[in-house]
């Protein structure tokens, strides 16, 4: 009897821990300042949270129903393998798109160093010249 009470405690603890971790991961995604900070919450917190919830489900069904149920382990393993891959690809996408980042986000990956990428930065083509309008001429005169 005491064994079942202990198991109930374990399942409850795993459920609440999973919920808290998933919540904290999403909170980080909502609150952090730039994309590279926001990437940290879901890739770590949410993955651990869902792992905890799936473990709780596994323990529960192994106790309630006859036999051992390890199908949840499959989802857990899959998510634990794919979450870093997803995070890596998202970080690469963010670097590729040159997203803005705060000063606290440190490091200089090759994507952000101009001299390391191919032949260097491509110059922007010159702007087509257009005859200046009256308003522009007046503004130039005022600036001088």
């Amino acid at each position: 009897m005491a064994f079942y009470v202990l198991l109930e405690w374990v399942i409850s603890l795993l459920l609440i821990a999973g919920g808290v971790f998933a919540f904290v991961g999403s909170l980080g995604m909502l609150q952090f300042k730039d994309f590279f900070m926001r990437l940290h919450g879901p890739t770590k917190g949410t993955t651990l949270g869902i792992g905890c919830i799936l473990m709780a489900s596994m323990v529960y069904f192994s106790v309630v129903q006859p036999g051992i149920h390890v199908q949840e382990l499959l989802i857990t393993l899959f998510l634990f393998i794919t979450a870093p891959v997803t995070g890596h690809m998202l970080a690469k996408t963010g670097l590729h798109m040159h997203l803005r980042y705060t000063r606290d986000t440190r490091g200089s990956p090759p994507e952000l160093r101009d001299e390391d990428v191919g032949q260097g930065r491509v110059e922007r083509p010159p702007r087509p010249r257009r005859p200046a309008s009256e308003g522009q001429k007046r503004r130039w005169r005022l600036r001088r």
């Binding site: 109930e8 459920l15 999403s26 994309f35 926001r38 879901p42 129903q65 891959v85 997803t86």
Partner: protein
């Protein structure tokens, strides 16, 4: 006690989903929205597992596995589209 823990976990997961939707609506750039979608599918797997616990049945685990695999593949596809401009070259 298991009931209470299930309710608490359910409330936390739903709050997490609401925050994900907020980021999905607000996200300033495309990768932010992509990250929000990725987190939404992970949280929906948690929601399905909690539903299975609530109804005391295991018929929903195939749906959870399907969501996990399709979510990963779709995130990879959109990432690749944003990175290379093409999914299968």
């Amino acid at each position: 006690m298991l009931d209470t823990a299930l309710w608490i976990s359910l409330a936390l997961i739903v709050a997490a989903l609401a925050m994900n939707v907020a980021r999905l609506a607000r996200g300033p750039d495309i990768p932010d929205r992509l990250l929000a979608l990725d987190t939404i599918y992970v949280n929906s797997i948690a929601l399905i597992v909690l539903l299975g616990l609530w109804l005391n049945t295991k018929v929903y685990f195939e749906a959870a596995i399907l969501i996990a695999m399709l979510g990963f593949v779709s995130t990879m596809a959109i990432c690749r589209y944003l990175l290379r401009g093409d999914i299968i070259e």
